[in-house]
């Protein structure tokens, strides 16, 4: 569950299998080393692990600026066709619902989320790339995240309560 999702996330961001493996290893080692600091009241383990993976992947891609050029065009491509671990129904459900929610966002909202989350753009960099005032980037990001939260809730998923996408 976490391992597969974490690796897929890392690979999407760093776009290099070896780097992605390094990122996941680093994230899980951090989980291991900081397990005693984890406070369940502040969030679910899955959120924590995926957040760590995301941060480490973004930090990596920021160090490897050259990867930015290929940020969005390939975003929707499948990297591996139907690997066994991903065939688990629950993960397919989660993927479908998150993608469906993303597809319902207005284009400008989806754009800031994809650039920020998957391409690792900071808000300042987004302002420059999109030729928008930084304040607009901040408010657009806030609106996009709020809308996504609502759409996920409508689809029956509550991100804050783990990904209980049971298919039973």
């Amino acid at each position: 569950m976490y391992g597969g999702a974490a690796y897929a996330l890392a690979l999407r961001i760093v776009r290099d299998r070896e780097l992605a493996a390094d990122v996941v290893q680093d994230a899980f080692l951090t989980v291991w080393r900081q397990a005693s600091k984890f406070d369940p009241a502040r969030g679910q383990p899955s959120s924590w692990i995926l957040t760590l993976t995301h941060h480490k992947a973004v930090d990596t891609v920021r160090r490897e600026q050259r990867r930015r050029a290929e940020a969005l065009d390939e975003a929707r491509e499948s990297v591996d066709p139907a690997p066994a671990v991903e065939q688990q129904a629950w993960q397919s459900v989660a993927r479908d619902q998150v993608r469906s929610a993303m597809a319902k966002l207005p284009d400008p909202h989806r754009e800031v989320l994809e650039l920020a989350y998957f391409a690792g753009y900071t808000q300042s960099e987004l302002a420059e790339r999109l030729a928008l005032p930084i304040g607009t980037v901040k408010s657009r990001t806030f609106a996009a995240m709020t809308a996504l939260r609502e759409l996920l809730a409508q689809s029956g998923l509550n991100p804050e309560h783990e990904w209980n996408t049971s298919t039973s």
Partner: protein
Amino acid sequence: MEHVDELISGYALHGLDAADERLVLEHVETCERCRVQLREMEAVAAALAFAAPQAEPPPELRDRLLEAIGPEVVPSAPPEAPPERRARWSWWPRFSAVAVPVLGVAVIALAVWNISLRGDVKDADVRSVAPIANVGSVVSFSGGQATVFGGLKPAPADHTYEAWVIPKGETVPQAAGTFAGGNDMSFTLTRNASAGDTIVITLEPGTGGSAPKGPVVGKTSI
């Protein structure tokens, strides 16, 4: 107090510059409302991970991870750990000897990692992790599956380890499958188990049977 809603979204996406990041961290120290908002936005950001295209972790990644963790585990290993469980991969028993709440997240993460790579759990929501003396840990899932992780000396000739489930409130063990033991062992019970059930591992003569005859090797409640 001026709240930092807009910055929180950027923070959750790991997209703030250092100054704004500090502002958020300092603010949520004293603002419960924004702390809740931050937790919600971090969960939404984590959900975005599932929009990533499918990708299967390379098989060697798990081994790399275990190798990296292994040396860090050794110093905290219980001194009474029997020699046969000191091999490189026998780290599950060490987890069980440490307070589970402290290491719970790592145990769960790694357990689910292990299980998800084998693809034998469809509904992988972890329900509990229970240490099982002399063996390792039992991770149980909300779907009813239970997997024993640990290290056991390989079963002697003409013997096998057998798992049993004793349903809560009952006394008769129900056979839940046989396995050979070994280091870095994991065995998913052939019978589902519920919260409050007892899991027992015995060493059985021959190929095991429908009622236990051999000595108890380990026992725990899940």
